[in-house]
Symmetry: D2
Subunit: 295 residues, 4 copies
């Protein structure tokens, strides 16, 4: 059983995820360590939820280390600082939306120290993180997952999808499909707008029909038609994830013309509209390309 | 109130739709006329449900004429035979997945005879047709729709989406989005398969995440992963509809790179795999392009 | 032999083409009629080159009528005014970059009056028009072409490519390929620019290698790297022609994913950058998508 | 001045390139070393042209080492065997169509041993290799290039395009543009074939017009219309190079929707038609997608 769990990266997703881990450790009589690049953030988290703030060397005691950072590059940086000091038999669970190739490299590095690595990105957004109902897609050794599965206190569903890197690959493909559905629905609506069709009525029909998707049912009505584009998940991050999917395709020597095209368009949207805008603001590039508004 | 309703085209969709119209007329003390290019089909329908088989000249009496034919070309053929003999004040409701440009032409032709035209394609599949719960997307004059709305006995939901042709445009865009989601999800799964990921687990995750669509939730698990590809909605018809969407884009001078690309790929799939195969068999072309199986 | 030749449309291309026709008629002792929507333009042309300005009814005498107008729509307008008055046995030669479907319709209309129709778009630009060295791609009856071939005084090369509409189809495909080579070379250069590569050196290499095209050899060095983008052939017209190619693809039920994608991107470029800019200014959209300059 | 030059990789390109190097060394009184994975090939080359066959340790004497291998992976393998034994002050010139990222890694590895690295891929095909007129695009230190420039005995033109990796990047983009022009011209011809147009006449016109490219002028008339598809440059290698271009795009965070799509289509062609077929046989996939022949 996990006696000491650590959580690194207390951002919009990681913060509430870590809170669930802290509460579980408290219930079970274990210890929960929290860390953030900006130490004050960790101190605020500890003050609110009760974990212990640690410096990176303090991770030497942890049985399970969770990371939830912006990209695999930040995970590499943290690993550089702590890999040599980790406890043999510990498990590193990376919940970052990371890169499969990085996962394979990191796993190879940790296995030499007797530490298991699982890539375990999540879906469900900040609301799922708060509710503790995230879906976790896990790549890596099934036995290693079995040993730490109980510590996934933030999860509603945990699915083992394959070897190391598979979790990141599935997450990247999922987000690429989010990009495709968002963009293609935006294209269709822009063409209908230029044809004089009532877009609200059109979406109502599509959402009762075979062309519906999470993007058409949830994102576009709430964020685009309202013209609000609330910045929860950044356009730059979606472009990054679509890019990881393109890398997955390339590394597998697969042929995926639509995923590749949409990666390029999403990258263009992040450049033209702004990486910090909400991911649904990609449709603003479609609006410019069509001299119309999707509303 | 409609006293005499006619239904032309008694195929997989039209047959059960017509049955609802017949039953409604029977309840209301009106008359229901049925017609099919193959007359025996109409006679079997009448024997089972009780309508009256008519020849095209018999449509002269009808207040409302429904058509549900393969393409707008067949509607043109029927119109050539009957347009001059229709009753002034009648309404023609075309439930075909037709072409917006044909709708505008047909409406202009009928309005000269004092007959209103509504393009009113449906979604919901054969099960929705049997249950009488189809969604109908209607283009044309709102007042004309108001006069015949009660006769849509096969509908669960009727949405007015714009002027003549708008119904067909929305239907085409919906089906183009079906094509996009099917194809892109297939690409993603093929790349994951080549990466050694468990596809059933990957789909389970995607369907709990932001990349989900009707294609990922319903079609691919039931038809592709099972390797059954049951032929309910033909690949050639989906390619045709994606092509109508491409025409909508062109006529609106819109820019829709993803819809255009997918139209081309779907057309290729219909040519290489077979127009009569189920539309989900488009993924068999992806499998060939990737030397893998989606299962 | 042609005794009376008429030329309609005296723009950047048609003006110098008509001058060649006028000179030929003068040499051969025939008559040359010129017409332009703006009559003053025709009067200036006649004053300079010596043809006779006519109104549309004056075309009744012509043995050969050349048209060189912006699109098939303008040809339709002129035809509406004159079709009934044309001389039986005359030949209408449309040098517009027109639409194959319009050609078939116009040919059918004229054949009823005993007038042959050839679609005969040209390539070679304004310099070829002035030099009288244009390449003409002709669709229609080979015998009809044989009868009037000598009157193509503006041509360096005349190629019969197929039935009515084939000339327009080939022209549209040629211009779509121009759009593809321009755009793709622009993408490649933008990526190289972001990689720190010297673009002049890169183009020098490409132009000595297998990836070269008219766009890479002539247009981009002279118009893009210089940042001059001189407006000779408008971006809106190239987008129109790429659109005609998309229609050719659709009408032939062909699958052409790259041509379809580039049509959409060229349409977007015309909308975002401006239809009246030079066609090479399409690369300005690529520059925005990549936050870089191609220079 | 180079006293000892080595050439590794004596295939269809490397063989004749090495012969030029051998002859130059003979003229200048230096020594030329040749190596091939299959030693007999090196012995045949030496017997014909007069160089000295060496084992990898023999490279320790060389002032300049040329490599011309299938991919960067083979270069890595050779480097693993010899890097530690190279002469300080030597220069490694890699003429492989390699990967920019590999070039940067290899250069960093060699600089530690005091050895300079230049990526120097070539274009011009086997005929250019035999004639000694290849174009070489060089990435790396300009001074290092200056020191060995005279040893490029196989070159007609040597262009310095930027830092290490730039040569490979330009080569990859050039070949991606070859892929784009081949594929798009194939699409256009397939659509014209389905429209009943004479393809030989159409190509004649295109090659006198603005849509022309090396593919339309040279490859398609000689290899596709003739139905010969002679296997000189393999489809699998073109797909590999288009893939390197996709990686260049990704690494530069560039947006290149057409290059990305064509990479996917070329990959599919290599899978469906065969990696060992001539690169022009990619058009056979277009033929299948269109149920037509390009002839």
């Amino acid at each position: 059983m996990t006696r000491i769990a650590a959580f690194l990266g207390l951002g919009a997703m990681g913060g509430p995820m870590a809170a669930h881990v802290v509460r579980q450790m408290q219930r079970q009589g274990g210890r929960a360590l929290v860390w953030n690049r900006t130490r004050e953030k960790a101190e605020r988290h500890a003050a609110e939820f009760g974990g212990e703030v640690v410096d990176l060397p303090g991770l030497a005691e942890a049985d399970v280390i969770f990371t939830c950072l912006p990209t695999s590059a930040e995970v590499d940086e943290v690993l550089d600082g702590v890999a040599d000091g980790l406890k043999e038999g510990a498990t590193w669970v990376d919940c970052t939306s990371g890169h499969p190739e990085a996962a394979r490299r990191q796993a190879a590095r940790l296995v030499e120290r007797g530490v298991a690595f699982l890539d375990a990105p999540v879906s469900g957004g900040t609301s799922g993180a708060q509710a503790g109902t995230l879906t976790v897609m896990v790549g890596g050794d099934a036995a290693a997952l079995g040993r730490v599965r109980d510590s996934f206190a933030f999860a509603g569903k945990v699915v083992h999808v394959g070897d190391v890197g598979s979790g990141f690959a599935v997450k990247a493909v999922n987000n690429a499909l989010l990009a495709v559905t968002l963009w293609a629905t935006g294209e269709g609506l822009a063409a209908l707008a230029r044809s004089g069709v009532n877009l609200g009525a059109a979406l109502e029909v599509i959402n009762a029909s075979s062309g519906r998707s999470n993007a058409s049912q949830n994102l576009i009505p709430a964020r685009v038609l309202t013209r609000e584009f609330p910045a929860t998940f950044g356009l730059g991050l979606l472009a990054k994830d679509a890019g990881i999917a393109a890398d997955v395709v390339r590394e597998a020597r697969a042929s995926a013309p639509v995923l590749m095209q949409v990666e390029a368009l999403m990258r263009a949207a992040a450049t033209v509209i702004g990486a910090d805008e909400d991911h649904t603001a990609a449709l603003r590039l479609i609006e410019r390309m069509n001299a119309t508004e999707i509303k």
